[in-house]
Structure formats: structure tokens, C-alpha cells
């Protein structure tokens, strides 16, 4: 048995395999699923969930969680719309920066409460899930702008959201860039490895002198910024925004992360896995109608996927533990 690092872990290979089976079956039922347009849509839809899942991965690795992702995304998507209502000709880059900044601020609020006040992330972000969503609705009713439509946004912005570079959707490119960057940091930077250390054993991390509070705050800010980016991209892609964008998205995000093999109690998992998890869940969502399952099943499927993954993880851990015990006994005996 070797512990060497492989390009894809067993879990990630498993997801790839499940993806291939799913795509094969669905394509057999309806060949359009794998057509140019079908593939294009699939990757576009997966891109936004991937951004959210990558951000969430950073948090879960450190034993934290952000249940307010959907609300933060809704808030930043709505911000994009509001910006265009105020000034139809705002440059795309300005909207991006504003969205990312707002997401980062939301993340900072969560992070400050978790890192400084030592309140469990579950409680904090369950609270901010409603606070941010409420602010979103409050903002909508205060300005009287219940909905922002495509014709109110600039053509440039919409083109940014639906455009492609060399046939690859721009959103997908952005998601890939983010994924590669986060993967890189997690694998090869000291600060990235320290995130695993914090999640693996907080006490040992303290003894090793890792500034856990600072790192956790930073991770919340970065994750929030990614959610903000996702919100702006959502607005640019769909072109129609109201205050309910992203409601319930936390379930899909947590499910993607867990399906992707990130341990819910921290210390292990990769951004790559989470991205594959996001792709798998998006593919399932896309495949359901083709396979004759109503789209209403999606939440149930997400929930079931999450439960299945953690049960599977537990089974794998139990097997690993018994193997380690056997190895040790063998060495002694």
C-alpha cells in the first residue's frame, strides 16, 4: 500500500465514473443531452455552483460551514441589478468589483463572528442566512425595484455572462481559473496546508503556532468574495434578478462539497473534488427531466446525495480504521 499522491483521489475517480455512467445513460435516452448546446448549458450551470462549492470547501476544510451562501449570492446578484437600474452604462468590471466586495463584506461579518467571538459557524451562518436574505428583500421593497430585467442591464454585461472564448463559456473559464488557483494554494502554499491543519486538529494547530483565528477570518472573506463573484455572474447569465435569487442554494452547495469528498468535520478534501461534486449534481439536475423524473425532485436528490456521501465516507473510514488496526497487529505479532 502506498500513500503517494495521485492526480485524482479514489473518491474523485468515483465521481468521474458516476458522471460518465449518468451521461451515457441520459444520452442514450436523448442524444441532445450531449449535443453542443446541451454540454454548453451543463457547464454554464455547473460553473456558478462550482464557484460556491470551491469557496465552501475552504471553510469546511477548517471545520467551518457557511449556510448563508444562498443569501449572500442573492444579495450580490441583486446588487448587480440595482447598479444597472441606477446607471445603465456601468462598466462590467465595476459591477464585478462591487459584487466581489459585497460578498467579501458578508463573509467578513460571518468570519468575524466565528473567529473573534468563537460562536459556532453553524449558528452564525444560519442567522445571517436570514439576515442577508431579509436585507435583500428590504432593499427591494425600499427602492421599489422588485425585479430587474435583462433590458435594464447593459448589453455588455449580458454578453459577458453568456459569451464564450474559443467555444468555452466564459463563466466556465472563470470557474476553472478560480478552481486552479484555490487548488494550487491548498496544495502548495503554507497557508493552504495550515487550513488542513486547523481542521484536522485545532489544538495541535494552536500548539504549532498557526494563527487559526486569522486564517478562518481570511477564509470566510475569500469564500464570501467567491460567492459575490458567483452572484454577479448569475445576474449576467440569467439576466433576470429578484430578491429571491439563490434561495435554498446552501443545500446544493453543501451537498456538492460533501459529495466531492470534503470531510464535514474538516481536515481533508480538495477543491477539485468539490468541483466534480458540483458538476455531478448539476448533471443529475439536467438529466432528471430527460429520464422522465420531474424537476421538482431536485431538492430531494440533493439531500439524498448528501446523505449517501456521508454514509459512504463513514463506511470507508471504518474500513480504513480496521485495516490500520490489522496492519499494526501484524507488525506486532
Amino acid at each position: 500500500m502506498t500513500w503517494r499522491r495521485r492526480p485524482l483521489s479514489g473518491r474523485e475517480l468515483g465521481i468521474v465514473f458516476a458522471l460518465l455512467v449518468l451521461v451515457a445513460v441520459t444520452t442514450a435516452v436523448n442524444p441532445a443531452f450531449l449535443g453542443a448546446q446541451g454540454l454548453h448549458d451543463l457547464f454554464l450551470n455547473a460553473s456558478i455552483l462550482t464557484l460556491l462549492a470551491v469557496g465552501q470547501t475552504l471553510l469546511v476544510i477548517t471545520r467551518n460551514i457557511d449556510l448563508s451562501v444562498g443569501s449572500t449570492m442573492g444579495l450580490t446578484a441583486f446588487l448587480s441589478g440595482q447598479i444597472y437600474v441606477a446607471d445603465h452604462d456601468t462598466p462590467v468590471i465595476a459591477v464585478l468589483v462591487a459584487g466581489i466586495a459585497m460578498g467579501a463584506v458578508c463573509g467578513a461579518v460571518n468570519g468575524a463572528l466565528v473567529a473573534a467571538a468563537k460562536v459556532p459557524a453553524l449558528v452564525v451562518t444560519l442567522g445571517t442566512l436570514y439576515v442577508f436574505r431579509g436585507l435583500d428583500y428590504g432593499w427591494a421593497s425600499l427602492t421599489g425595484t422588485r425585479q430587474v430585467n435583462a433590458d435594464q442591464m447593459s448589453g455588455q454585461f449580458l454578453a459577458f455572462g453568456s459569451g464564450s472564448v474559443l467555444g468555452v463559456p466564459r463563466l466556465t473559464l472563470i470557474a476553472i481559473v478560480v478552481l486552479v488557483a484555490v487548488n494550487y494554494v491548498l496544495r502548495t502554499m503554507r497557508s493552504g496546508r495550515e487550513l488542513y491543519a486547523i481542521g484536522s486538529n485545532p489544538h495541535a494547530a494552536r500548539l504549532a503556532g498557526i494563527p487559526a483565528g486569522k486564517r478562518i477570518l481570511a477564509v470566510f472573506v475569500v469564500s464570501g468574495a467567491l460567492v459575490g463573484l458567483a452572484g454577479v455572474l448569475h445576474a449576467a447569465y440569467f439576466g433576470t434578478i429578484n430578491a429571491s435569487v439563490g434561495s435554498g442554494e446552501e443545500l446544493a452547495v453543501v451537498a456538492a462539497v460533501v459529495v466531492g469528498g470534503v470531510a464535514i468535520f474538516g481536515g481533508s478534501g480538495t477543491a477539485m473534488g468539490a468541483a466534480l461534486g458540483a458538476l455531478l449534481l448539476t448533471t443529475i439536475t439536467g438529466a432528471l427531466p430527460i429520464l422522465g423524473v420531474p424537476a421538482l425532485w431536485q431538492r430531494a436528490v440533493d439531500g439524498a446525495a448528501l446523505l449517501l456521501s456521508i454514509s459512504l465516507d463513514r463506511a470507508v473510514m471504518a474500513r480504513l480504521a480496521s485495516r490500520l488496526r490489522r496492519e499494526r497487529n501484524a507488525r506486532h505479532g
Binding site: 500513500w3 503554507r190 491543519a197 504549532a208 481536515g267
Partner: protein, 505 residues
Amino acid sequence: MAEAERAPRPLLELCHITKSFQAVQALRGVSLALPAGEVHALAGENGAGKSTVVRIIGGEHQPDSGVIVLRGEPVRLSSPLQARRHGIAVIHQEPVQFPDLSAAENVFMGRQPLRAGRRIDREAMNRRAAELFERLGVPLDPTRPTRGLSIADQQIIEIAKALSGKADVIVMDEPTAALSAVEAERLFTVARGLAGQGAALLFISHRLEEVYALCDRVTVLRDGALVTSASTGEIDRDTLVRRMVGRAVDHLFPEREPGSGPEALVVRGLNRAGAFHDVSFTVRSGEIVGLAGLVGSGRSELARAIFGVDGRDSGTVMVNGVLLPAANPRGAIDRGLALVPEDRREQGLVPELSIERNASLARLGAVSRHGIVSRSSERATARRWGERLRMTVGRFTDAAATLSGGNQQKLVLGKWLATEPSVLIVDEPTRGIDIAAKVEVHSELSRLAAEGLAVLLISSELPEVLGMADRVLVMHEGRITADLPRERATEETVMRAATGTVDAA
């Protein structure tokens, strides 16, 4: 300090360190000097302040007063990180590691070798870790996660960590408690090697043979104060023990007629994979049977499986002729078995609950009438056992955490005696409590045996086992390797059985 010129200047000096935790004065003006190239033993009973010294050197606690001098300079060690940066490494009895990360990452966390662009140089890291493990004589795979490694291997990782950080003050806090004889010897070789290369080592242990085998000098603490500091060549074993205990060790254990009642606890062919194999023994009522063995030999696992907190693969347990259901503590309690577990805080007590609630936790049904808990009967229980065990208690409504270690142990004992058992298993009943409480626990145990209770006493302290037990069972790697009557049980026979060097005796 000009007169200290004769000896080489110590690497680390503690000068008149005091430290208190709320009401407890943990250290009273302790001074200690660790010269380069020397292995220094810190001895003392549990609760004497050894751990506090370790934590202060390691930067986990700050002294209330006194000065720490490192290489001639006074320093403040305000965090573990600071201590590490000053070249101080602490190897804990049970190392704290990152189970998900590789052995090499555990060694180099926060100090990973870098390549251009601040990237971690994984190859270099693994290579250097492998070199360190090689040097320590334990060829661990640097890329394997530390989850599932034995404690001995984890300590090797901790020592590699110290070496890689160029630490020259190395503190080992009871490192051998959970090691086999072979592993301990390997550790000693490493420790001597480190001292030979100019490091200063502080070695904490209460196994005197280890102190004499490894250390050049020994300092004894008692009740937070320094009692003696001498070269190991100048102080003999008996004197050392007397200094540690603060009086002669004779008459520590109550005299008692060996019990010979009917068989109260009968264990037959008990197995649990990975913990113990084919264990059979009996305890008669009125008898105290000692269960000795190294930490990790399966003693506590055996006790837990008998009681039913853990499951068992095969075998039977009978109390007074009645079979106990497997994995069912309630069933065991109802049939007259009680277990005072080894970990007071985690298994014996709920520290945040009040004393009286803790006392009735194992017999909630008995203090209830018509399904409602009767507070007065709860309090009566606590009071009755509190008095019998001579607990020092302010109020029974105070949290159990406010009690001293000895009184906590008495509370756990009382909680179990209140269930009126006919068989009592006690696991490390005197660990970490002061001498007076220890004596009281011992005399209570022999009084109970005289009243007809069957007692199985598990202890790491050989004198306790030898002094208390009518008969000594010894465990080694999950098997009972000796059953010695009192006359034949000596430190030597027990240790030989415990380390597996037993002849066909």
C-alpha cells in the same frame, strides 16, 4: 550568578517560578537548570507540579512570577510558538498531531521547505523527513497520514519535529507511559544521542528505573515545591522515593486477611479483536485482585468490555452466577457490577453537573419515586457517601469541577458504591490524587473487601498493586500472562510477565 562558572552554563534556567490556578498553588518558587549535553529527570508524584513546569517551559502557561533564562538571556515564552522559536520542543505523552496530514507535513507544519514562489517543496520535505526518521532509527513512510500510527511512532514524529526545528531544549513529558519495553529502549537511545549532540533534555517520569537508566541528574518536586536536586549517582532509590512521597513508604497499605468467599466475578474466554484474547479469571468476594500490565496491554479495554461499555466478540461474564448481557452497562449495573473508570473527567464525572447529581447518575431509577427524581433522596445519597468517604465538600449543589482531584475520585467511588455492587472494578483509582486521598482510597477499598466486596484493581503503579492485592493478574499484549499469589508477586515477577519475558512459571 558568577559562582556557577564551574559547571557549563545551562542552556535553560528556571528561577523561582511560581504559578497558581485560582486557589491551587501549583508551583512555589521552583528553580531548575538544564545544561547542554545532560539528561535531567523531573520526578514527583502526580499533582506535584511536573506538568505545570512542562507547560511553562513549552509556553503554554506563563509564570506568575520568576524568570526564565535561555542561553543566559531572560526570555518571555508567551506562546507555544514562541517557545518553539527559542529552540524549545515538548514531546507530550500523547502527541497532538494532524491525523489527516502526512508524517512529513506533521514534522514540518508551518516550516515547510519552500521553492521559488513560496511554493512548498514536497520532494525536499519528504526527503528530509525520511532522513530524520532514518536518523532516529524508525523508517516511517513520510507520505503516509499519521492517523492510525502507534503512540511510539507519533513520538518519533514529534522528536523529528524538534530536530528539524533545531531545538536544543527538549522536554519529554512521561513519554514511556504507553510504550512497550522495546519502544522505550529505542526512545532512550534516541534521547542519549540527542544529549550527546549537545541538547539539554528534561525527562519526566515516575518510573524510577527509567530515571536511573537514562538520566544524569534528578530533581524532585513535591506539592509544587522543589525538594531535592542531585546527580543520579549520589541519591539512592529509597531516598528518592522518600523525597517524592515526603515520608517513609512503609505502612502505606492497610493490612488485611486475604478474602476467600464464593466466586463473585467469573470471566471465561473473553475476546475482543485488537484488544485482548482469551481472557479467563475469577474474583472471589472479599478478595482484591490486582490487574497489572503496561499501558496499552489491554487492561482498560478488558474492564470496559466486562462492564459492557465496549462490546465483546466471544466469551462470558458472570456476576454471582448470573450471566451479564454483552455491551449493556445498565444490565451490568443491575446485576451488581460497578466500574470506576480510568479517566475521571471524561468517564467518571460530568464536571459541570452538581456533586449530588453526579452521585446519583448511575442509579437515577433508585432515587426516583413514580418516575420523578426525588431531590432529597438524591442529596441523602450524596451526603451518606460523602461522609463515609470523608469528602471535603462545600455544598452538594456545587459543580463537581470545583472539587480537588482526590475529592473527585472519592465522588466517583461514592457514585458507584451507592449502586450497592457486589463486584467493583477500579481502573487507576489513585491516578493524579494527593497522598492523603490516596491512603483513604486504599483503606476504603480494603474495608469494602473486608465487608465482602469483590474488587478488581487495575493500576499502573506497581507498589499499589503489590501492596493492595491478594492476587495479581498480569496482562501483556492482550493476554493474561501471569496469575501470581501475593507471596510470589514482586516487582520483578510482575514486570517480567508484563513485558512478555515470562518463563513457564
